[in-house]
């Protein structure tokens, strides 16, 4: 009996990397996440949230690593170039990349991944990420036409797009959604059964971390992949725990966490607490949040939308929300980026009142939705609009309710934030499109024309001119109101070195460069 118990204990210990190495030698990084992931299958996340993507980033490999400023580094692909007059991108895969079971990652794995996921019989909810590829429809399902994914040789992958797209634009926009799957493990499985595999409960990827165990919704234990092509992470185990957002910083101060996603981000008002708790806080250089006031273009006429833009004191709003770590915006283009336009916004209450009169505003009360943590901000918006004579009432709801309420027209306005990128259409392309017309724009034709023109223009100077023209049109129409770009404060881990904090907001973390401080 004793032998059996001893054997059982040995087996249990053997389940974890630390069990193999022994408790004393085991190097564990405790990682905090404020919301749980919803699936370990990267193409089947119902929420498609960043909380799931940051998990996939560890287990599965992507083509590139995206820095906060928009720079790209090799990851699954060692290099890339454009082809076919801008309609294709060729990726030269890293020949050292391998799955956790030792199988080398080839171009055929990438092609098979895309082929299996775009199979109309496969019920993966995330297949829409492939809708940019040739041979797919708007939902990302294969149409039967030649699929825009091809293995030129064992380590060369070619992706063909529906519209001209540079490899850099593709990676900035889609890198966080493209993962290579171990297709050799489900060659004989029908598309309809693909998501039922036990593989997705204990996934095998080719990322920097291996799967060890999961307590759904609360805890995930990953091990270091010793053979990762960019280097072995400097820990044995990465223990990811779901911790309430308000407890992330106190947990780090208390030493219960070594790091928390995303990038140890902390509000300006909490920075003094972090510092007094002995933690170093550094300011990010690249804007990582973009705040907008979503507008319902059906209930708010163009003059009223313009009046709202002029009535808001964006400087005060930005100060309230960021504590000085941001700048007011009059466009969605990333400040300092290639397409940045000069900020010409200024508050003008008189003009706002005149526009309200011109727009026939009858004194009705509009409904503004926001999440509870932005109720103060909403109160400030309410005061500023009241100064111009516009009345709103505030409804504090959760994020999902706000977006669904905006989509179904229940709300007239909503305060939302996003992670910006250097692409000129990072914000507008997905929100001013048929099927996702969240601003309820009555006629999307002119927007679609501008977007198609910009996407099809390969000459940088001509493209910049088109972007500027589109921005002027957006300023005139004001389907949404850009509020500000904010920079993050990052709490530095007292125990882990080498963390690229700002890039975490792009859902990738350089864990292969993380090492524990001695």
């Amino acid at each position: 009996m004793k032998k059996k118990i001893a054997l059982l204990l040995a087996l249990l210990l053997g389940l974890s990397a630390c069990g193999v190495r022994g408790a004393e030698a085991c190097v564990v990084v405790e990682y905090g996440l404020s919301n749980p992931w919803d699936s370990l299958m990267p193409y089947n996340s119902p929420s498609g949230s960043n909380y799931s993507r940051i998990i996939y980033d560890k287990i599965y490999d992507r083509l590139a690593y995206v820095h906060a400023g928009g720079a790209l580094d090799p990851r699954g692909a060692a290099s890339w170039e454009g082809a076919d007059g801008g309609y294709a991108a060729v990726f030269h895969l890293d020949r050292d990349a391998a799955f956790h079971d030792g199988t080398p990652v080839t171009a055929e794995h990438w092609v098979e991944t895309i082929r299996r996921m775009t199979d109309p019989a496969c019920p993966a909810v995330g297949k829409s990420v492939f809708s940019v590829l040739a041979g797919t429809d708007g939902s990302g399902a294969a149409t039967g036409a030649p699929l825009g994914a091809q293995a030129l040789d064992a380590y060369t992958l070619k992706l063909t797009f529906k519209t001209p797209t540079t490899p850099e634009d593709f990676l900035l926009d889609r890198n966080r959604e493209y993962y290579v799957l171990p297709t050799h493990l489900f060659e004989d499985v029908q598309g309809a059964q693909l998501l039922s595999l036990d593989l997705w409960d204990a996934p095998v990827g080719s990322g920097p971390c291996t799967f060890i165990s999961e307590t759904a919704g609360s805890r995930l234990v990953l091990g270091a992949n010793p053979d990762y092509q960019l280097g072995r992470p400097g820990f044995d185990e990465l223990v990811i725990s779901v911790v309430d957002k308000s407890n992330l910083l106190p947990s780090m101060i208390a030493g219960d966490l070594d790091y928390y996603a995303f990038g140890g981000s902390v509000a300006a008002e909490d920075a003094p607490s972090a510092r007094s708790g002995g933690l170093e806080v550094l300011e990010g250089e690249t804007p990582n949040t973009f705040f907008e006031l979503m507008l319902n273009n059906e209930t708010l006429s163009r003059p009223v939308r313009q009046a709202i833009d002029l009535a808001l004191d964006k400087q005060a709003l930005c100060l309230q929300a960021t504590g000085g770590l941001g700048e007011p915006a009059d466009s969605d283009l990333l400040p300092g980026g290639e397409y940045a336009v000069k900020n010409t916004w200024s508050r003008d209450l008189e003009r706002a009142r005149a526009l309200l009169a011109e727009g026939g505003y009858d004194g009705r009360t509009f409904r503004l939705a926001c999440t509870a943590n932005r109720s103060g901000l909403a109160a400030l918006v309410q005061q500023e609009l009241a100064e111009a004579g516009l009345s709103i009432e505030i409804e504090t709801v959760d994020s999902a309710a706000m977006f669904s309420g905006m989509a179904d027209g229940s709300y007239d306005m909503g305060i939302a934030s996003h992670t910006p990128s250097a692409l000129p259409l990072w914000f507008t392309e997905s929100r001013l499109a048929e099927g996702n017309n969240i601003f309820h724009v009555p006629d999307l034709t002119p927007y679609a024309g501008y977007i198609a023109g910009i996407k099809g223009e390969m000459d940088p100077a001509a493209r910049r001119a088109l972007v500027a023209e589109f921005q002027a049109f957006l300023t005139q129409e004001r389907p949404f109101i850009p509020l500000w770009f904010g920079r993050a404060l990052h709490v530095q881990s007292p125990t882990v070195e080498g963390i690229d904090y700002p890039s975490s907001s792009f859902c990738n973390e350089n864990v292969w460069e993380w090492t524990l401080r001695r």
Partner: protein
């Protein structure tokens, strides 16, 4: 038991009298100061800045939007007290008739009303309140309705028990024999003899309703933005930096809630002793 006698007994309980004075002062200040001083609890003073510490201009500093915290504390008191007294009054208005009906009619009436009370009491109140407020939307009226309609069970049980005892008294049987209708008997003969302990419970219910509203506001599902309440002001303490670095933000509303609830408890005790014939002896000692 005469009202004058009960008041005299109440006045002998110094703790209750002082508490009543504090409560009266609170109500008066909350009702009159906003009008007399022209307070604007929802107006931001951007020149003072966000999270400004106490100054001569803003005695309790400003909040995250630059609003004067003293103004919000006073006006928040209006709402917290309104919610407290409104919800408690509603609980009494529902609980007393149901308790009377169940106790006087007994049988199926008594069974079903008391089982309904059992069912309501078995559901964790804060969970039920959160769900109902989420469904009905955050507003003063909805919160008063939800808190009031969920708080009747204890009062109904109290009145039910007392009614069961009173309905067997000889004077009740005499009135019934003389042809008194059930409605008249309940109103004129039963109610006055079972209602006295309700005054004590009413005071406790006010305190509980204020705490419940505070809990809802602390959880972020209280009143509609930008309305202030003591619980809403206390919600700022959920931020680590406010909790540790800005005590002037959360300490005053916290003190107001604690003081009010304590005073209501003492007043309730005083009322119970004043109206309880067995307690009069103790109070007179």
């Amino acid at each position: 038991m005469s009202g004058r006698g009960a008041w005299a007994r109440f006045c002998r309980d110094r703790r209750a009298v002082v508490s009543l004075g504090i409560l009266a002062a609170e109500v008066l200040l909350a009702a009159l100061l906003p009008v007399l001083l022209g307070l604007e609890p929802n107006a931001s003073d951007l020149s003072a800045g966000f999270w400004a510490p106490p100054t001569s201009e803003h005695w309790l500093g400003t909040d995250d939007v630059g609003r004067d915290l003293l103004s919000r504390l006073i006006c928040g008191g209006q709402i917290s007290l309104l919610v407290g007294f409104g919800a408690a009054g509603l609980s009494v208005a529902v609980g007393v008739p149901l308790g009377l009906l169940a106790g006087y009619r007994r049988g199926a009436w008594g069974f079903w009303i008391m089982r309904l009370a059992d069912v309501v009491q078995t559901i964790p109140s804060i969970v039920l309140i959160l769900c109902l407020v989420a469904l009905t939307g955050p507003s003063i009226v909805n919160i008063i309705l939800v808190l009031g309609l969920l708080g009747w069970t204890g009062i109904a049980r109290l009145v039910y028990g007392n009614t069961l005892a009173v309905r067997e008294r000889e004077y009740i049987l005499a009135v019934q024999a003389l042809g008194g209708s059930p409605a008249m008997v309940l109103r004129r003969n039963v109610l006055p003899n079972v209602v006295s302990p309700v005054w004590a419970v009413l005071a406790q219910r006010v305190g509980r309703a204020i705490l419940s509203e505070s809990s809802l506001s602390f959880l972020g599902v209280g009143l509609r933005t930008p309305q202030a309440s003591w619980g809403g002001l206390l919600h700022y303490a959920s931020s680590l930096s406010v909790l540790t670095g800005r005590p002037w933000v959360w300490a005053p509303p916290g003190a107001c809630i604690v003081t009010t609830v304590l005073c209501l408890q003492f007043v309730g005790d005083g009322l119970r002793d004043a109206f309880d014939p067995r307690g009069s002896g103790r109070a007179a000692k």
